[in-house]
Symmetry: C2
Subunit: 136 residues, 2 copies
């Protein structure tokens, strides 16, 4: 599969795939003799996971860090294409811990903001005549 098809299958663009590769989220794909990238279905699955994580708020660097363990996130579609590298395991684990902390803090802040905004909204509505019907 060439890059255009792979990108379409994963719901993104060729540019994004090259970008992920450049940033270490995707392994350098096999090239044809003329230099064109070729992708497998496993690669596509990997890209889908990457996109999911990005949409959840992880950064590219985060995902690069746990790049070698992405297969854990997918019910065995993904092979562990990268070396299992025991060496980086503690780092990845650390990253998870830190990330969890950050997320918790984030949730707390958002909750606070939610509260604040809704109070503010209520006060606003109080001061404003409830706009009995329409306001155009």
């Amino acid at each position: 599969m060439r890059i255009g098809d792979a990108a379409a299958a994963a719901g993104t663009t060729p540019r994004a795939l090259r970008f992920y590769e450049q940033r270490g989220l995707l392994p350098p794909p096999i090239r044809t003799r003329t230099g064109q990238r070729t992708y497998s279905n496993a690669d596509v699955a990997r890209v889908k996971i990457i996109r999911e994580l990005l949409s959840l708020g992880l950064t590219v660097d985060d995902i690069a860090t746990l790049s070698a363990h992405l297969h854990l996130l997918d019910g065995d579609t993904l092979p562990e294409h990268t070396v299992p590298d025991r060496i980086r395991l503690p780092e990845a684990s650390e990253m998870f811990r830190r990330r969890l902390e950050v997320i918790d803090e984030h949730i707390t802040r958002l909750t606070r903001l939610r509260q604040l905004l809704s109070v503010c909204h209520a006060q606003l509505a109080e001061k404003a005549p409830p706009a009995t019907a329409d306001t155009h």
Copy 2:
């Protein structure tokens, strides 16, 4: 108070104050005859609120939208220096509603991510020998 002192009092920089002004978060301050900006304590209080909201994840544009109603967020330190403008009230209200939705969605996603990461973390730890003591 000139810009440097006001910025310091609010815990930020002159650059930020000019930026807020330019983007409509702060009213154009009174200038000295030679063009230097002067700020009051109320202005400083306003800046603090702006920073709080920014740190909670609102964007500059969001804050600009509710700019005329910021005094609602502070126990009467702030005068309603801007015209109460009934006209923009529905817009501000709409903005609150949309913002609340976005925040709720955000919290949901983060919660999902938290779950996902913690499962992933657990699996990782499972595969790795629990590193009985230290691993250096």
